[in-house]
């Protein structure tokens, strides 16, 4: 990781020095080593603050749309982050020509809250970036474990138990919207839940309004969620949102033979139609 940090600093410095980009989206020092922060370096001096370690979990693709179109941006991406960049390209939210993608093959990432490893057993089974201009380290071996294995417990439950599980989890939501805001794919402005007319969901947290918010969000992310897990790490109430997203992702992959954000040439499954598409979705 030290090697990646050095390479990241080096490339950031070079790109800013040459004027190839105006900003480098990477990671900077936080209040201690375990809490690095998303960081936008704009000058050569800024690049001194860049860090990379196992706690740099943030998906920097979240910040791409903070900049006006035409801004030349270098972005540091791990595997899932690169998939988020791909989805944003597919959805024409950003221009490939504006980007210099600095790929980071990442194994051994950890959740700063729990110190638990982040790997295919929870979220993210794509350790190597799927799209990059410069790769900052040697590719790492992907885990043999399918990232869908974590679903087996939920899939083994009957409807009643699954309902009990999700109503228990979602009733804890305090509607701080950290999940939505940490998500690189949640860019709607305004988000449906913030609209007053029509009034889709109450502002008070209750199981009913929480379900309205989360279920709608889950479905808005069908075929788009890249399994980076940022929503779940952002949640102060530790609701395992990733499990729902993963279930939907699995069904999309089974039906349409395509995982989100793996190739710029793919069309997102929910906007594409092929005659041979599965029709289970139509009931």
């Amino acid at each position: 990781m030290k090697r990646i940090e050095a390479r990241l600093k080096e490339e950031a410095k070079r790109l800013l020095e040459n004027g190839e980009v105006e900003v480098v989206l990477a990671y900077g020092r936080g209040y201690d080593g375990r809490h690095p922060m998303p960081y936008a370096a704009k000058t050569v001096t800024d690049t001194e603050r860049i860090v990379f370690n196992e706690y740099c979990t943030h998906n920097m693709a979240r910040y791409l749309m903070d900049y006006p179109p035409g801004t030349r941006i270098a972005i540091a991406v791990k595997g899932c982050d690169s998939r988020a960049v791909v989805v944003l390209l597919q959805e024409e939210k950003i221009e490939r020509g504006d980007l210099v993608i600095l790929g980071i093959p990442a194994a051994g990432m950890k959740d700063p809250k729990t110190d638990q490893p982040i790997d295919a057993s929870t979220t993210c089974d794509t350790p190597n970036p799927v799209l990059y201009d410069i790769l900052l380290g040697g590719e790492v071996t992907a885990s043999e474990t399918s990232s869908y294995e974590v679903l087996s417990e939920l899939e083994g439950m009957d409807g009643k138990d699954r309902w009990a599980f999700w109503s228990g989890e979602l009733s804890r939501c305090i509607r701080c919207y950290a999940c939505r805001k940490a998500c690189p794919m949640c860019y709607c402005d305004p988000c449906f839940v913030d609209q007053a007319e029509p009034h889709w969901a109450d502002k008070s947290p209750s199981l009913e309004s929480n379900l309205m918010f989360h279920l709608t969000r889950f479905y808005h992310l069908a075929g788009r969620c890249v399994d980076c897990g940022e929503c779940s790490r952002a949640c102060p109430m530790e609701i395992p949102l990733y499990l729902f997203h993963k279930k939907v992702a699995k069904e999309c992959e089974e039906m349409f033979d395509q995982a989100a954000g793996m190739s710029v040439d793919d069309k997102p499954v929910m906007v594409d139609f092929r005659v041979e598409d599965a029709d289970e979705i139509l009931l």
């Binding site: 936080g30 209040y31 201690d32 809490h35 690095p36 922060m37 998303p38 960081y39 936008a40 943030h58 979240r62 910040y63 903070d66 700063p112 729990t114 804890r172 305090i174 509607r175 701080c176 919207y177 950290a178 939505r180 805001k181 940490a182 402005d189 305004p190 913030d194 109450d202 502002k203 008070s204 947290p205 209750s206 940022e230 790490r233 952002a234 102060p236 109430m237 530790e238």
Partner: protein, 340 residues
């Protein structure tokens, strides 16, 4: 008076307290510990660093009904909400959070318009404070003169020994409650010494200190500084910081109706949300996240000081620990204070 009870008998203590009023205490739900109204005394945990959310919801719930109504064929039937609240007891409040009640009193009941929802609950509530026994690197409550084992503001103050919980009466109300709880035993002279020793140990714990001298004026003078754009760059504009904060108090009022019946409710709002300042016209005076982050900092460290003569932050560290991108409010304020 000093009383004691074995830690393994915490549930007996809670049961006895439940006979005196509604009890709010820390409950673990998975790995998340928060204050909850206690139904089952076995759910209470005293083994936590600090709760994810502050205890402000005991006086200022996230959602508070102000009037309930039902639409009928020729008008509206309304039901008033009683403002006579049951006696309440909050058990296990850390010293910095106890201080937050005083900070919020100045707004809700300090003069001028008195908020009956806050005031009536507050005066009916007995506070059982709880000494810290470790320090998280995010905390900075020493900034505000709060000690890790500071009983100021508590009615009863608790210190955890190895396997014994000591409870000391601080106010008259606390003494009265303490004297009426049967499962508690009187402490011996030896216990007294041990309690003082634990108190001294806990008092020696110290946190980071944020230099706040002249912050109110300084922050006003750097209002237009481009510093805020950089400081807010990592901010996601979610509302976690405000929803875990013990002193954030902004709220919205909404009518929430379902099938012709509903309530006018006071609901927590957040200055971090884009629509917080959105006008009906479509104009938004705080369009950018840098303006919103600056607002949160300035409200706490400048405007509140101007209005109520106290910084509305207690250094509990919650916003730092819960921030998905680890924004450190100490670093943000220090950065602003260091501007030329």
């Amino acid at each position: 008076m000093l009383k004691k009870i074995g830690l393994e008998k915490t549930d007996e203590l809670v049961t006895a307290l439940m006979g005196k009023g509604e009890v709010f205490a820390p409950v673990a739900d998975g790995t998340v510990v928060n204050f909850q109204k206690i139904q089952n005394p076995n759910n209470v945990t005293l083994d936590f660093y600090n709760t994810v959310q502050s205890p402000k919801s005991v006086f200022f719930p996230q959602t508070d009904d102000m009037v309930r109504y039902r639409l009928i064929h020729d008008g509206v039937e309304t039901e008033e909400i009683s403002l006579d609240f049951e006696p309440q007891i909050i058990l296990g409040v850390r010293p910095c959070d106890v201080r937050s009640f005083d900070v919020m009193d100045r707004l809700f009941s300090g003069g001028g318009i008195v908020d009956p929802y806050w005031e009536n609950r507050r005066k009916n509530t007995t506070i059982i404070g709880y000494a810290f026994d470790s320090v998280d690197p995010a905390d900075f409550y020493a900034t505000f003169g709060v000690g890790a084992a500071d009983p100021t503001g508590s009615d009863i103050f608790m210190v955890k020994g190895k396997d014994i919980l000591f409870l000391k009466g601080i106010t008259e109300r606390g003494e009265a409650l303490l004297g009426s709880i049967d499962p508690l035993e009187d402490a011996s002279a030896k216990d007294d010494q041990y309690f003082e020793k634990r108190l001294a140990e806990a008092s020696a714990l110290t946190t980071r200190i944020l230099g706040t001298d002249g912050a109110a004026q300084k922050l006003e003078s750097v209002f237009e500084d481009p510093y805020w754009v950089g400081a807010a760059a990592p901010c996601l504009n979610c509302g976690v910081c405000t929803f875990v904060c013990p002193t954030c108090h902004c709220f919205d009022i909404q009518d929430e109706t379902l099938f012709g019946g509903g309530a006018r409710r006071r609901i927590w709002d957040s200055c971090m949300f884009t629509d917080f300042t959105l006008h009906t016209s479509g104009h938004n005076p705080r369009m950018n996240k840098s303006q919103r982050l600056r607002q949160r900092i300035n409200h706490k460290f400048s405007y509140y000081v101007t209005n109520f003569d106290v910084i509305s932050c207690v250094g509990c560290g919650r916003c730092i620990r819960s921030c998905p991108v680890h924004i450190d409010i100490v670093a943000v304020v220090e950065g602003a204070m260091a501007l030329p």
